[in-house]
C-alpha cells in the first residue's frame, strides 16, 4: 500500500483542472494500442498487446477433458492471470492475490458471459469428452490499465487459436469457433475527473474505477466497478459513452489485426 506523494496527486489534479493529462491525452483518449498475434509457438493461440507502455501476453492452450456435470455438451473455459514480478516491483511471486484474482475473473466473465468462445461447439462426446480452453495471461510490463490490455490480449489470442485436434488425435485441426467479442474499456476517477485508459500514475491516485465492455451493437456486456470511491449516475453514463466510442475503434483495430 504505497503512499503516493501528495505532490504528484496535486500535479495531476492541477493539470486535470485545465483539461489536461500528464501525457498530453484528452480525458476520453486511449494511448496507442499495438496488437501482435501468434507470438509464441507452443501455444494454440497467442497475442501480445501494448497499451502505451503496458504490455500483456495471452496464450491459449487446449486439451481434451471432461465437461462439467451441469453442462455435459459444452466445452470448458478457464482463465488465469499472473501478476509476475517481471512486470512491476510491486508484484510479488507466490499464489495470486486479490488483484490478480479480480483481473482474471473480470477477463473471464468478459469472455464467458458474452459467449465469445462457442463452447457448445467444443463437445466431442456428450458427458464424456469436451475441449478445455485455457487462457493464461502474463503481464510483462505494467504502466496502468491491465484490465483492458489483458482482455484485449485474450481476445486477440483466441482469434488466432487453432484447435489442435490432430495432435490430440480427435480429428482435423480447425479454427476455434468465436462470436463477435465485446471490447472492454476502463476509466478511473480522481477528484471529480474521469479519464479513460489510466496510466500507472493516474491509477495510483484514482478513487474509483469502472470497466465497461460493449459490443458492436452498442450494447453493454459486462461492467465492474472497483476501488473505494464512488460514481454518480451521471459519471457512469459518461463512462459508458466513452467506452462505446473507444470500444468501436479498438474493435476495428482488433479486426484488422486478426483478419476478422
Amino acid at each position: 500500500m504505497s503512499i503516493v506523494p501528495i505532490i504528484k496527486r496535486d500535479y495531476i489534479s492541477k493539470l486535470a483542472e485545465q483539461g489536461k493529462r500528464i501525457d498530453g491525452r484528452r480525458f476520453d483518449e486511449f494511448r496507442k494500442i499495438e496488437i501482435e498475434t501468434t507470438v509464441v509457438n507452443k501455444a494454440e493461440g497467442s497475442a501480445r498487446v501494448k497499451i502505451g507502455n503496458t504490455q500483456v501476453l495471452a496464450g491459449i492452450k487446449m486439451d481434451v477433458g471432461e465437461p462439467y456435470s451441469d453442462s455435459p455438451e459444452s466445452g470448458v473455459l478457464t482463465t488465469a492471470a499472473e501478476l509476475i514480478p517481471l512486470a512491476s516491483p510491486d508484484f510479488e511471486a507466490g499464489p495470486p492475490r486479490e488483484d490478480a484474482i479480480e483481473l482474471a475473473r473480470v477477463v473471464d466473465r468478459g469472455v464467458r458471459e458474452s459467449e465469445v468462445v462457442e463452447l457448445d461447439k467444443l463437445c466431442l462426446e456428450p458427458g464424456e469428452k469436451v475441449w478445455i480452453v485455457f487462457i493464461d495471461i502474463h503481464i510483462l510490463d505494467y504502466d496502468g490499465n491491465l484490465f483492458d490490455a489483458a482482455s484485449l490480449a485474450s481476445l486477440a489470442a483466441l482469434s488466432t487459436t487453432i484447435v489442435p485436434a490432430t495432435r490430440l488425435e480427435v480429428g482435423e485441426d480447425y479454427q476455434l469457433p468465436l462470436k463477435e467479442p465485446p471490447i472492454s474499456c476502463t476509466s478511473v476517477k480522481f477528484d471529480n475527473f474521469v479519464v479513460i485508459d489510466p496510466s500507472l500514475d493516474e491509477e495510483e491516485i484514482a478513487d474509483a474505477r469502472l470497466t465497461v465492455a460493449t459490443d458492436k451493437n452498442g450494447d453493454i456486456r459486462a461492467m465492474q466497478k472497483g476501488l473505494n470511491g464512488s460514481f454518480t449516475k451521471e459519471e457512469i453514463q459518461k463512462v459508458i459513452r466513452a467506452s462505446l466510442d473507444n470500444g468501436r475503434e479498438i474493435k476495428k483495430q482488433l479486426s484488422e489485426c486478426t483478419g476478422k
Partner: protein, 242 residues
C-alpha cells in the same frame, strides 16, 4: 438458454409471484451476537446471512497499517452447506473477489481517517445462499457497522436489478439468476445515491441499463428503510432494558 422455464407468466408475475418491481422478503435483526462489537442477522428471500464487525483495533501485522486511516477488510464466506452441492470450506476465487468489492464499497462510507493505523474487520457468513448473496451480505454488513458504533457518513445498502424474459426486474431470484439475461448488483450510499459497488453480467442495451440501475437504486432505498428499522429496534430494546 431459457429452456421451458417461464420466468414471467401471462399476468406479468414472476415465478415466486412477485411483480417486476417487488423485492423478496427482507428480515433484519441487529445486535444478535454477543462477542462481536456489532452484528446483524439478515434474511433476504432464501438467503440467510450473519455479519459481525470487530474494531477499530490496531492493525496487525504492523506493515498492514496505514498511518492516515483505518483499513476496512470485509471477508465474505459461504458455509459448506449453504449451496445445493457442498462447497469446499475456505475462500475460493469467487469469494475473494466479492470480499474485495465489498471491502472497497464499505471503506467509502466509513470515516476511516478517524482511526489511523487501525483495522475494522467485517465478517460476512452466508448460511443459506439463493441468488443475491453479495447484496444481502453488504446490506447486513452496513447494519453490523452501525451496531458497532463505527462512525459512517451513511449506512451502505445494496440491491440488484436484472433482465429476465426481456423485462427489467428488481432483485433476481435463483432461477431468474440462472436463466435470466443480465444481473446488475449495485450498492449505494442512500443519502446521496453515490454508487459504491456495481457489477454487471449479461446483455443490456444502454437504455435497459439505465432503467435497471434506477430500479436497483430504488431497491436499495427500500432495503435501507428495513436496515434503519432494525437498528432502531435494537436501540429501543437496549433502551427498554435499561
Amino acid at each position: 438458454m431459457e429452456l421451458d422455464i417461464k420466468l414471467i407468466d401471462d399476468n406479468g408475475k414472476r415465478m415466486d409471484g412477485r411483480s417486476a418491481e417487488e423485492l423478496r422478503k427482507i428480515k433484519i435483526e441487529a445486535g444478535v451476537l454477543h462477542r462481536a462489537d456489532g452484528s446483524c442477522y439478515l434474511e433476504w428471500g432464501g438467503n440467510k446471512v450473519f455479519a459481525a464487525v470487530y474494531g477499530p483495533r490496531e492493525a496487525i501485522p504492523r506493515h498492514t497499517q496505514n498511518p492516515l486511516r483505518a483499513i476496512v477488510s470485509a471477508r465474505y464466506n459461504m458455509a459448506a452447506f449453504s449451496v445445493e452441492d457442498r462447497k469446499r470450506p475456505g475462500p475460493d476465487r469467487r469469494s475473494r473477489e466479492i470480499s474485495k468489492v465489498i471491502s472497497e464499497a464499505l471503506e467509502k462510507v466509513v470515516l476511516t481517517e478517524q482511526f489511523p493505523r487501525s483495522a475494522i474487520d467485517v465478517n460476512i457468513e452466508v448460511l443459506d445462499a439463493e441468488a443475491g448473496t453479495r447484496c444481502a451480505g453488504l446490506t447486513a454488513a452496513g447494519v453490523a457497522l452501525a451496531d458497532a458504533g463505527i462512525p459512517m457518513k451513511d449506512i451502505p445498502v445494496a440491491c440488484a436489478a436484472g433482465k429476465i424474459a426481456g423485462q427489467i426486474v428488481i432483485d433476481l431470484g435463483k432461477e431468474e439468476d440462472n436463466f435470466g439475461d443480465a444481473d446488475l448488483p449495485v450498492a449505494i450510499s442512500p443519502r446521496t445515491d453515490e454508487i459504491l459497488l456495481l457489477q454487471m453480467d449479461g446483455h443490456l442495451t444502454v437504455e435497459e441499463f439505465n432503467k435497471a440501475l434506477d430500479l436497483a437504486i430504488k431497491g436499495c432505498h427500500k432495503a435501507s428503510e428495513i436496515q434503519k428499522k432494525a437498528i432502531m429496534d435494537k436501540y429501543q430494546s437496549v433502551k427498554g432494558a435499561e
